[in-house]
């Protein structure tokens, strides 16, 4: 009988006061943008994107939110949690491309994982735009600074670091480069929507990670179905192309809660 893995936490890194990265020694074989379902027995099981995966070890960068993530934050190395996956689609990995990565919140995690895939590949140039409320909440500055072909652009709401304002303010100026550009984005949905709009206006390729409430993660329950196509974001997403995102009129407008009831953004 196949079953979800039950893995000990190998290492815990405190990223900010409410963000930790949990590392597990396990050959997960995931691609950037994919997610796992993390289970704490007796409590709950929820989706989290991979922030790191080098084939031997993978990591999840987790924001403290509610019951599950709080419990997770109380665990120590050696404690075990259930891991099922990897599930879902991933960001394209293309040679000879100018990547513009637009990250908000924990979106920096999967995009950081993506960026590291290009370490030392000179034909790929990365502009990485990361945003947060203030400089204490910016993620992965050090990690990203190690990637030589990556240029980091920061934005904070309060101006405590980098640009004062939105990440999207920084996006348009970067679009006018020679090389073929691919914008990839992961973060709060309204930010993503704005990124998509900008890419549409400028006719630039784009990939968006769309998160919906998930139960099964495997395309059965329909919990993560998105209007008007009705396709499941756990199998056809989370990462979707610009073309697909443009058909998803629900994107940036509303999502559904656990009962399936609509919640407007």
């Amino acid at each position: 009988m196949k079953d979800s893995n039950f893995l000990p936490i190998k290492k815990i890194v405190n990223e900010t006061d409410s963000v930790k990265t949990f590392y597990f020694q396990h050959a997960l074989g995931s691609n950037p943008g994919q997610f796992v379902m993390l289970w704490i027995p007796g409590l709950d099981q929820k989706p989290f994107s991979m922030a790191f995966d080098d084939g031997q070890t993978f990591g999840l960068t987790i924001f403290k939110r509610g019951a599950l993530t709080e419990k997770l934050f109380s665990l120590n190395t050696g404690d075990r949690v259930g891991i099922a996956g990897p599930y879902g689609t991933s960001f394209s990995i293309k040679p000879n491309t100018h990547y513009i990565m637009v990250a908000g919140g924990y979106g920096a995690a999967p995009l950081g994982f993506l960026a590291e895939k290009f370490t030392g590949l000179p034909d790929v140039k990365i502009d990485f735009i990361a945003g947060a409320h203030d400089d204490k909440h910016l993620l992965f500055e050090e990690r990203l600074s190690k990637i030589s072909n990556l240029k980091l652009h920061l934005a904070t709401d309060d101006g405590s670091k980098g640009h004062k304002g939105y990440v999207t303010d920084l996006l348009t100026p970067l679009l006018s480069t020679e090389q073929k550009s691919l914008v990839v984005t992961c973060g709060p949905e309204l930010m993503e929507k704005k990124v998509l709009d900008i890419c549409n206006q400028n006719n630039i390729e784009c990939e968006v990670s769309i998160e919906r409430y998930m139960k099964c993660g495997v395309g059965v329950c329909g919990q993560c179905a998105i209007d008007p196509l009705g396709i499941c974001m756990c199998t056809h997403g989370p990462v979707v192309s610009k073309e697909l995102a443009n058909q998803l009129t629900e994107f940036g407008n509303y999502h559904r809660d656990k009962t399936g009831a609509i919640i407007k953004y």
Partner: protein, 302 residues
């Protein structure tokens, strides 16, 4: 070749999305239709919204799927909106589905869901995962089946199908009771009770501990239920449980089913599962010189 007439309504093929798979949204139901099914059943809804159990609520294995969703749903009122939306984008046959805690409540939900343009109403008396919550399991209680069927029949504007449990060893007798109480069809079967224990955590995998087993493991059990029921009732049967291939589908028709519910197969064969099954059915039918499903319905009884 696969056209099927069910209680006066024409289905382009007998494959219907089983209740609870791919949820409740109009778009999701419509997507299943695009993937080839002949009709859709909505996830069962209750009077009030229910969040359901915490996760894990379901999990897939090599040869079965198990779930204990806790009948999460947005409540009948929100569901009616989605169903109206659905009929705005598709004229395919639409089967509503309801559950409740008492016969009276069943009647109430039936009345409410009939505000939506459903073609049929399935009555889910057989979910194995909420039994304790609602007292004695209805599915094993002849009196309860009778009372619920009568209530729903009286409240519903559309033909009703009572959905039975394979855990009832006398499922054929229960079908007879439902028929006598006014059921227009029988859906057989819901999931069978089961459990998965995760050995490393030493705990049941599902938050609800027990769950309902579906998928290939359920198929031989469901087939026998349909075979037995067909012997005893005159009303049509929506054969459901583990149908994964065209061969399974035809076997279910030979046991006596008119429509075929397909759910977990989407886990085993992907989104396009209905299309795949329909093509396989047609291929076997051509090989075996079967011109219509009518020709072979119930033929395993000869």
């Amino acid at each position: 070749m696969l056209t099927t007439n069910f209680l006066g309504k024409k289905f382009k093929n007998p494959l219907v999305l089983a209740s609870g798979i791919l949820g409740v949204t109009a778009a999701s139901l419509n997507n299943a239709l695009k993937q080839g099914c002949g009709g859709v059943t909505v996830k069962s809804v209750s009077l009030l919204p229910r969040p359901g159990h915490p996760n894990p609520t379901m999990a897939g294995f090599d040869h079965f799927f198990i779930n204990a969703v806790g009948l999460s749903n947005p409540g009948v009122e929100k569901a009616v909106e989605e169903l109206k939306k659905f009929k705005g984008i598709s004229d395919a046959p639409l089967i509503g589905s309801i559950f409740a805690g008492t016969p009276e409540e069943f009647g109430e939900v039936a009345t409410k869901i009939c505000a939506a343009p459903i073609d049929f109403l399935e009555v889910d008396i057989s979910c194995p995962n909420v039994s304790k919550e609602f007292g004695t399991p209805f599915a094993y209680d002849i009196k309860a089946v009778e009372a619920i069927t009568k209530k729903v029949k009286a409240s519903s504007k559309v033909p009703i199908s009572v959905k039975l449990s394979p855990n009832a060893w006398n499922i054929d007798e229960i079908a007879v009771v439902a028929e006598a109480a006014g059921a227009d069809a029988i859906t057989a079967v819901n999931t069978v009770s089961g459990m998965v224990i995760n050995v490393k955590s030493r705990q049941p995998l599902l938050h609800n501990k027990q769950g309902g087993v579906s998928g290939p493991a359920l198929f031989p059990i469901a087939l026998k239920c349909v075979y037995d029921i067909y012997k005893k009732v005159k009303i049509p049967i929506i054969g459901t449980g583990g149908i994964t291939t065209g061969e399974d589908a035809l076997a279910m028709i030979m046991a006596g089913a008119t429509l075929l519910g397909v759910g977990s197969a989407v886990y085993f064969r992907g989104d396009e599962v209905w299309q795949k099954i329909a093509l396989e059915m047609e291929e076997i039918m051509r090989e075996e010189n079967i011109n219509s499903l009518e020709e072979i319905r119930g033929c395993a009884h000869l």
